[in-house]
Amino acid sequence: MTPSTRHCTLAPVIANREVAPAIFEMRLRASEIAAAAQPGQFVHLRVKSGLDPLLRRPLSIGAVEGEHICLLFRVIGHGTQLLSRVVPGETLDLLGPLGNPFTLHADRPAVLVAGGMGIADMPLLARRLREAGCPAIHLIFGARTAAELAWTDRVEAEGAQIHTATDDGSAGHHGVCTALLPPLLREIDARPAICACGPEPMFRAILSAVTDPAIPIQLAFEQRMGCGIGACMACAVETSKGYLRACCEGPVLDGALLR
């Protein structure tokens, strides 16, 4: 992350719509952030200008289209609830792009693993991999139910092959998505690079399924944040190197640190 690319900006909301139950896609005009964004990075945004909520909320930069960035978020609490009611014409205070991005291993096949809202990282990542000439892109995507498999189309549009799983079996594999990883790895001839975003149990499943040290694994972490810029030490993630900050050493961390 090059510090000088970070911006604090008032971004007009262009669109905000529910693309799946309680999952919203928001499009904002934020040209500087759009120009600088790398996959895996996030914006830290103020939901309202008052005191409620007080802290910013971190959301992945899901896709970039010209001057626009697209976010995908699930309504889980007070902040995202309010965010879901924002209408075009309002502006949001954004800080970004922040955080350590995915390293592109474009010489190998890429296996992207998304659990739930982890999908939010994937369209931009797939696009940059494709642009960098990545030979093959696979997306393994697990959600609770078919209706929540949002943004699959965006990743497919970057030429990725999609492998889905749902907890209730309403689409794709019936069960956890990491079950799809071993057969896929056997199918792929070269050693791939794995990029994952999702809940920690998913990370643990990946780490135990993939033991070959020559397969790079990158994991994008979520952690409660304060500043988002490395100053407050709120966002500690426990690793074999001690606590690392999800907002600057992360959110993308080398899987080897989590073994």
Binding site: D52, L55, I229, A231, C235, Y243
Partner: protein, 308 residues
Amino acid sequence: MSMDVRLDVDLGPLRLKNPIVTASGTFGYATEFEDFLDLERLGGVALKGLTLEPRAGNPPPRVAETPAGMLNAIGLENVGCRAFIDQKLPPLRALDTAVIANISGFSVEEYAEMAEMLSAAEGVDAIEINVSCPNIRTGGIAFGSRPEMISEITRAVRAAAPGMPLLVKMSPNVTDIVEMARAAVGGGADALSITNTFLAMAIDAETRRPVLGNLTGGLSGPAIKPLALRMVWQVHRAMPEVPICGMGGIMTGTDAIEFLLAGATAVAVGTASLITPSAAVDVLDGVTDHCRRHGVDNIRTLIGALET
């Protein structure tokens, strides 16, 4: 066109070019904020609380949001006093802003040792003694809740760093803040920082667990402003000659003016910097505007000017 406002203040022996400083622990080691504000516009920067040895800090989650406030239980994660001097201090030396090193210890000797190291190191303009961190389980009562402990630490640091401007940062978790303030002044403090965070707790009703890994944490932000203002006012009324650096929930220039009126000579911006990285200079601009609007040509005339 717009009126000139004289902004410099004296926090005891420490001259600040203006009364706005940053609050320890909310401004990292200052350089993290260079993209977002001009550090040299600030009166001073109080940096992340230091301990003698590096510390890993508390298990996450370390922060929680509460109504108009936040809890933190960072657990004093820091690089340690030596690495601070070697790595964090050098980039700050050239800056024209006061550098305030904030220290926490687990024994009086540790405080004294850090004070000696820091006063020997070039570039530290003042030491702020944190007697009140409530997050560390020391197995005992916080230093800051006992007047005799406060004066002992202050005396030890005073002796270890004779020429150094010395602030004592008070814990608000006490029955009588004035008694504690007297103890600090009695021990040799040049000025008082009022206040640190309030011991508090957040619970997740769904999971039936405390939100913070450390169970309890310190409450900061706008929610505590009325409490902090009261404490500044009480101490200023009791000891009008003792300079105070006021803090607790300052988000705007108006908030800062309220602290000055209550008796603070300078103010620190804490939680606000986590929300808006440029908050400290925004507060400075707000203070200047307020002075212009009210025809105040010297900020010092506002200190303790509350009409009661």
